[in-house]
């Protein structure tokens, strides 16, 4: 399946990109996507414990399943206001 990954703030800068597509085997979970992203962008490893993850704009746990066309967002600690 193909998913879209959105990266923000430190995650965007660490990976050097704001948006990318990712090909994953059927049955992949959020944690599989994160592992693939860390493999492609080692700078993300240091951020991992700080990131929240959203799938289709909903905060999600690492063991949540992914589906074709999902939008996965890597969300560093927020600092709006």
């Amino acid at each position: 399946m193909t998913i879209t990954v959105l990266l923000f703030a430190q995650a965007r800068e660490g990976a050097g990109c704001a948006r990318q597509t990712l090909e994953l085997p059927e049955g992949s979970r959020v944690s599989d996507a994160l592992a693939a992203l860390e493999h492609a962008h080692p700078a993300l490893v240091a951020l991992r414990s700080h990131l929240a993850v959203a799938v289709d704009r909903q905060l999600t746990r690492p063991d949540a399943p992914l589906t074709q066309g999902a939008e996965l967002a890597l969300l560093p600690p927020v600092s709006g206001g």
Partner: protein
């Protein structure tokens, strides 16, 4: 109606839109960009957001503020992109029949906004360099 904008926040227009003839109280909070943070001189600030999710989160805060505090309206606007020093990066407008709930709701919405909305602030320092402001993990 929650709003994200790259232009200066139109406080006067939004205040006029917030006031209602059945309400005696309007509370407004403006978060303005500061020229220092943790002892360092700040020369510029910029915000980025996961825009659709941030808009949904702000709209949810507006609804929750109305339900929790029995106010008439809550309206939140956050600015994105570069924000010059002293200008408002965020505005929370509340109208209510009485001032107690207006203050409570305005304060609650700002507290929640800081920890539940996917927006990020980057500071540029007068001495050179820049950095993301330490934030709160979304939960």
């Amino acid at each position: 109606m929650a709003e994200l904008t790259r232009d200066p926040i139109a406080v006067d227009r939004l205040l006029a839109a917030t006031a209602r003839p059945d309400c005696g109280a309007v509370a407004l909070f403006l978060g303005t960009t500061r020229d220092h943070h943790d002892g360092r001189a700040v020369s510029a600030l910029a915000y980025e957001a996961y825009e659709p999710m941030a808009l949904e989160a702000l709209a949810a805060l507006e609804r929750q503020a109305v339900e929790r505090f029995g106010i008439a309206t809550c309206r939140i606007v956050h600015r994105l992109g570069a924000v010059p020093l002293s200008e408002a990066s965020v505005a929370v407008f509340v109208a209510a029949a009485h001032r107690g709930p207006a203050f409570d709701a305005c304060r609650w919405a700002m507290d929640e906004l800081k920890r539940s909305v996917p927006i990020w602030k980057k500071e540029s320092y007068a001495s050179g360099g820049d950095g993301w402001v330490e934030g709160t993990r979304l939960e």
